[in-house]
Subunit: 388 residues, 2 copies
Amino acid sequence: MREVYVAGVGMTRFAKQPERSMKDLTAEAVTAALKDADREVAEIQSGYFGNAVAGSITGQEMIAGQLLLRPLGIGEIPIMNVENACASASSAFHLAWQAVATGVCDIALAVGAEKMTHPDKARSFAAIGGSVDMDLVPADLPAGRSFLMDLYAESALRYMAQSGATREDFAAVVVKNQHNGMLNPSAQFGAQWSVEQVLAAREIVWPFTLPMCSPISDGAAAAVLVSSEFRRAGQTSVAVLASILRTAPVDGQARVSALAAAAAYDAAGIGPSDVDCVEVHDAAASAEPMLCEQIGLAEPGGGPDLLRSGATALGGRIPVNTSGGLLARGHPIGATGLAQVVESVLQLRGTAGSRQVPGARLALTQNAGGWHLDDNVVSVINIYGRSR
Amino acid sequence: MREVYVAGVGMTRFAKQPERSMKDLTAEAVTAALKDADREVAEIQSGYFGNAVAGSITGQEMIAGQLLLRPLGIGEIPIMNVENACASASSAFHLAWQAVATGVCDIALAVGAEKMTHPDKARSFAAIGGSVDMDLVPADLPAGRSFLMDLYAESALRYMAQSGATREDFAAVVVKNQHNGMLNPSAQFGAQWSVEQVLAAREIVWPFTLPMCSPISDGAAAAVLVSSEFRRAGQTSVAVLASILRTAPVDGQARVSALAAAAAYDAAGIGPSDVDCVEVHDAAASAEPMLCEQIGLAEPGGGPDLLRSGATALGGRIPVNTSGGLLARGHPIGATGLAQVVESVLQLRGTAGSRQVPGARLALTQNAGGWHLDDNVVSVINIYGRSR
């Protein structure tokens, strides 16, 4: 495997943007990433496009990536449409990384884009529902209601019983991530909440109130990956030290993100305590402390204590979701994984502004998708390092 | 790049099979491919799943591959859901080939599956419609009618004007492919038609009658790809000599399948005249002679003469669509590319029964998808060689 570098990143603001099209969102993110990488459209040798629900929302299935990139002048090269639920963008990134790492090409583009808003809100929720095993969905589920948050809620209740996590802990995750979102110009939300305010908000499904659930968002994010020889002199290089994609084991005994993280640490030759900043897939607030355990930031059951200690806040030992996470940065499904890449690159370059983690040298992202039994179906863990 | 071999193939019969589920179809194809390869489920190191319209038909989006493979005991490994319209299965095959060729893994599984029948037939046609640029679809198109065959018809009329191809030629393609379908137990259709009967059938859109259009089908196909060291002794080896995936150029000047074919011949170190049998993407009958030109079997404009000479029939110089092609074997969108792989492997092993091309040593498949301007959006060309 060759060394791979993230040469450029770009993203739109994440928000409800009903007036913007998939083409418009994709163009903004790709153009920004190319400019950031100081590369021309014609230099891209391979493209990987992640999306999850465009088919359900816009009716455009199957060749979305090609149609979205063509107006930018990108054709002829291999373009692959990739779908792995909420991990679609990370799956696109993983393939782009693999293409450069194995020598298939020297400059690859990874893009994730999603338009979730629809005049008929029920259609947005129904689309999200496609990420669970349809065989599990109760026949009496009201039309247009996603079943996904119910599954996250059941999982949260089990976690509370096992670890002693409380609803106050989940509210504290929201307070932290909303605070970080305030510092991120690309974030959908950002505000100074109190734990009491979060708990007093409208209940979605016990134990979650509205701000504990990731929102409906429109947006796109992109990254340009290059081989060692194609780095620009003078740029701060961000190397991809590991990119691991795993599916949940059939027996359900091990958590898929724990498996992927172990393999990623092994591939990068580091351990959890070496990491300076982390983005995890907080589709619901309860997921953050659970995932901190799974990726080794805390012992099993230690997620709540890690949170309560302040370690995962900006200024703490290991800041988590400095971008605001899915809860505040927003969660346009097929774009989320690449937004995590964007945040990691900014942090490692030292250009994350008022949410900068001082001296960050190693970053990790965890992006998961789908739901089956009591776990995500797929997980992608990437580890990035600042070199020079 | 390392040498890659197709160690095993399997497919369901292609047909309208409304009573069968995606899980059922996938299980049959994968189980057959593993048995053919003499490999266990646990030996698969990476999986690539191609599908195009399941989201629209079954509501199951995003993690279809994982959910379909899990009941077979396949988990933990990386699984990638791939979508490239009618070239989805070939795209999955391409990634599986790349994974083995670059040393990412030694045993990879490529699967394509599609369920197109739906109690509401309009939904089947609407789903197929997702493979064209939705911006091109006329606002007054009747609900549930696919626009795709209209685009193929326009293209056919232009081809007739340019090359002198006639409706009789298109009917002759049907007669040939239906004949081949009779000899293929996995084919959806197969019958002894006359040119007159084909022309007298119900008109779908001028110049096409019903048998000139590929049918609605349910089915699955799979292949197991291995590195050199993982071949079984004593098996007739089928090597993948080239696998090229290309997107249509932005300026629309060159045909995407012509570009992909040129690159594939170059990679394999052979020319069109070396090939013994070919499968092309005859989504409509007119596509076959056009594609024969694009992949170099005839000069530009020479497709009709090649057909009329009998060269592309069984027993001819270069038999095309010995399986029956999309017209007769059937076209479950996301499975079609792998059905082409199955046919090529049977031909090169010399086990294609009554449709065997005697002594076939080199085979080529062309699988294309999507439509934009006057061409497919994506094309995958694979070249296979018998080596043992």
